[in-house]
């Protein structure tokens, strides 16, 4: 039966793991109006239900999966979910997003959000079959990798079409940056959400649904989808993305001199062509694969046909892991990068954090701080194949030196007592594969991102456009269009943060909706109206994005975050890009002026970086003011 909700499935499923019970309740209408979906739902509920100082690996933490109003419809690229909890890696907001086919199945089973509470004393997997929920013993799956787990669960249920998210052995072993994996390699990898899931005693969640998703205005919806199809198919980035996916940007980043190489000691990698997306497409890719309802399928199935890894096959990788396991660790061999990425997927690790830990250790070794003995006798020179692959395995098993790296780079530096100044993270989350000295807006994005050092909260790609006229037109500041300039970046980042929050709330693909500029706020409003029946203008849509950002900021503020934490590692603030990185040479990151501009744009207190009472009220969040005061958080009126 079609539900009385349009677009939404209209229900929330709470799984009480301690008692192995479940409760279904209607999706709150206020949550829809205020937060739209996906990441918005999760962030708001985390603020309401996870008090400060909750132990991320304790019973009180909650793990939430949420999807959006367009998912399950035929809206192009609407296939994604966010999985959120307090992070065991950063102790602030944990949140990660993935595509594949899991999220639409949630909707067909009748849920917009699934919340895992409490924890089970023995390992379980959960099977949600429309309204039936079973908690099934999974002790026989203990230690299995993501692929084996997914396969076993599907076989036991006896239906290849059930959708599964799984955690790997790294998560079970308590590595603090293990992810949740849908369709084997669609990784919600960042901030340790797999760790939370496994520590709650859940190895996998399987879901199957038979319900329909209705849209409020089918004719209007159909027309809008046709417009989107046209915009996407005719877009200049269509074919580059279709052939190479995100790996297409490796060579341009190298050209720009901001491809993080050997742990960000330089911005050009002499073997860039060997490990590029072009090389992958020419020699390894055999087939295009896509997420659910995607008309720009950008994932690639690859096979290694000769060499040491002959016979290895898999899917992806995205730019980040490919580049991290080549340039960042100084490895010139693309096959080793493919192998490393494959291992991370199977063991259930965040490839970016893993690569940061390994490349950090390599730099510590080069500087003479780390000895071979401390590293279990491994040769820690740049790009050493055996070291890279052995360490991935050791991290996942928490063995020897791997145990030290398994808590993330910040903790590793604390434990070893050196390398803190070159531990490249923001708020405990390891920085992604683009040098902030060559991309100031992106850098500012890492500084202020609510989950720590990551670009997916903002993606201010506009600064790569080299089009100052358009910068003046759109933001009133020509420099917003120039990557090495810092002026205007506060304004730019806050605009793009709001936009990303909306794409994450709608659970559409950021690559398409945002990076290809096909789903701006006004059009989002139209789409929301056609799908859900709720009238919304572009301004209102952006306001929801802003509300999501502020709710997340309040969560961080409650955990003690303030201006002092909104920073980058010293390397980016003090060491200019080296001469050889010609197109970014000499550049450093101008933190203070950018941060001031950003806070001003956000309406946050310049001194503390905390939202002002005026801003909190403007967004209808006044109910949190008393709570913040009780916690002695310094609030300014305006």
């Amino acid at each position: 039966m079609a539900s009385k909700y349009f677009g939404y499935a209209g229900r929330v499923l709470r799984l009480e793991l301690t008692k192995r019970k479940h409760v279904i309740h209607p999706l709150e209408k206020e949550l829809i109006r205020g937060y739209l979906g996906g990441r918005g739902f999760n962030s708001k509920r985390l603020l309401d239900e996870i008090p400060p100082e909750t132990d991320p690996l304790g019973k009180e933490n909650k793990l939430m999966f949420a999807t959006g109003p367009l998912v399950g419809t035929g809206f192009p690229t609407a296939s994604r979910f966010n999985v959120s909890a307090k992070s065991p890696l950063t102790w602030i907001l944990g949140d990660s997003n993935a595509g594949g086919h899991f999220a639409p199945e949630m909707k067909y089973a009748g849920y917009d959000q699934i919340i895992l509470e409490g924890s089970s004393d023995r390992l379980l997997y959960i099977f949600i079959d429309d309204d039936d929920v079973s908690f099934i013993d999974a002790s026989h799956l203990a230690g299995l990798d993501v692929y084996e787990t997914t396969k076993a669960v599907k076989e036991e249920i006896g239906d290849e079409s059930v959708q599964v998210v799984a955690a790997g052995p790294a998560a079970e072993n308590g590595v603090r940056y293990a992810g949740v994996f849908a369709n084997l390699m669609r990784a919600a990898a960042r901030t340790g959400m797999g760790t939370v899931m496994a520590q709650k005693g859940v190895k996998a969640i399987a879901i199957r649904g038979s319900k329909s998703i209705d849209v409020a205005h089918p004719d209007k919806f159909e027309k809008l989808v046709e417009k989107l199809e046209e915009d996407i198919y005719n877009h200049p980035q269509y074919w580059p993305r279709r052939i190479m996916g995100t790996t297409r940007i490796l060579l341009p980043l190298n050209l720009g001199g901001f491809l993080p190489t050997r742990h960000f000691t330089t911005g050009v990698f002499e073997y860039a062509e060997e490990v590029s997306g072009e090389r992958l497409a020419e020699e390894y890719n055999v087939k295009t694969r896509g997420c659910f309802s995607c008309i720009l399928p950008c994932s690639r199935f690859w096979v290694i046909r000769k060499g040491k890894y002959k016979g290895l096959y898999g899917e992806g990788p995205e730019y980040e892991p490919l580049s991290a396991f080549s340039a960042r660790v100084g490895n010139p061999d693309i096959q080793v990068a493919l192998k490393a990425n494959d291992m991370c997927n199977k063991l259930g690790l965040d490839a970016l954090t893993t690569a940061e830990c390994i490349s950090w250790a390599m730099e510590c070794y080069e500087r003479g701080w780390l000895t071979k003995d401390m590293a279990d006798g491994l040769d820690m020179s740049w790009g050493n194949e055996e070291t890279i692959l052995t360490l991935i395995e050791k991290i996942a098993r928490r063995e020897g030196f791997g145990d030290i790296l398994a808590d993330g780079v910040k903790k590793a530096a604390e434990k070893l007592g050196f390398g803190e100044e070159i531990a490249l993270h923001v708020k405990g989350l390891e920085i992604i594969q683009a040098d902030p000295r060559g991309l100031k807006g992106y850098g500012l994005g890492y500084v202020v991102a609510s989950r720590g050092g990551d670009h997916l909260r903002s993606e201010p790609f506009f600064e790569l456009s080299d089009d100052p006229e358009r910068g003046r037109e759109l933001f009133g500041i020509p420099e917003t269009a120039l990557r090495l300039e810092y002026k205007g970046k506060g304004k730019l980042v806050s605009f793009f943060e709001d936009w990303c929050a909306i794409t994450d709330a709608l659970e559409v693909c950021k690559n398409v909706a945002e990076n290809m500029e096909v789903l701006p706020f006004d059009l989002s409003g139209e789409v929301i109206h056609a799908a859900t029946g709720i009238e919304m203008k572009g301004g209102e849509v952006r306001r929801i994005g802003e509300r999501i950002i502020n709710v997340e900021r309040l969560f961080l503020v409650r955990e003690g975050i303030s201006r002092k934490d909104d920073t980058l590692p010293k390397r980016f603030l003090e060491e200019p890009m080296p001469e050889e990185a010609i197109n970014s040479a000499g550049s450093i990151f101008e933190l203070e002026p950018m941060l001031n501009e950003y806070y001003t744009e956000r309406g946050w207190d310049l001194k503390t970086g905390i939202p002002t009472i005026a801003k909190i009220k403007e967004l209808g969040l006044e109910k949190y003011v008393d709570n913040l005061r009780e916690l002695s958080i310094p609030l300014k009126d305006k």
């Binding site: 200049p236 980035q237 074919w239 580059p240 279709r242 052939i243 190479m244 995100t246 790996t247 297409r248 940007i249 060579l251 341009p252 980043l253 050209l255 720009g256 062509e273 590029s276 997306g277 072009e278 020419e282 995205e318 730019y319 980040e320 670009h455 993606e459 790609f461 790569l464 456009s465 080299d466 089009d467 100052p468 950021k510 690559n511 945002e514 990076n515 290809m516 010609i582 197109n583």
Partner: protein, 92 residues
Amino acid sequence: MKVTVRFIGIPGINVNSKKIFADDTPRVKELLEKVCEMFPEIFPSVDHIVDRFLVLIEDKQGKTTNIRLKDGLRTVINKGESLIVMPPLTGG
């Protein structure tokens, strides 16, 4: 003179660079016209290239500048400089 044109990330064209013969100190427009002749299916016109791709000039040292920040299509290519054509660079 011979001008090197590099294509990055364009499906249908190898990463390898191509040499284009042109008059001495040609303008970008002239070179792009030749690029269109070489790959008519990918680049039907010069306007198409400018609309949908980034065109950069790279000097001897490897420093690149978008032609948009110079004189656009009228920018003159000097000896030792080369041209790069690639799709717009947005996130990953």
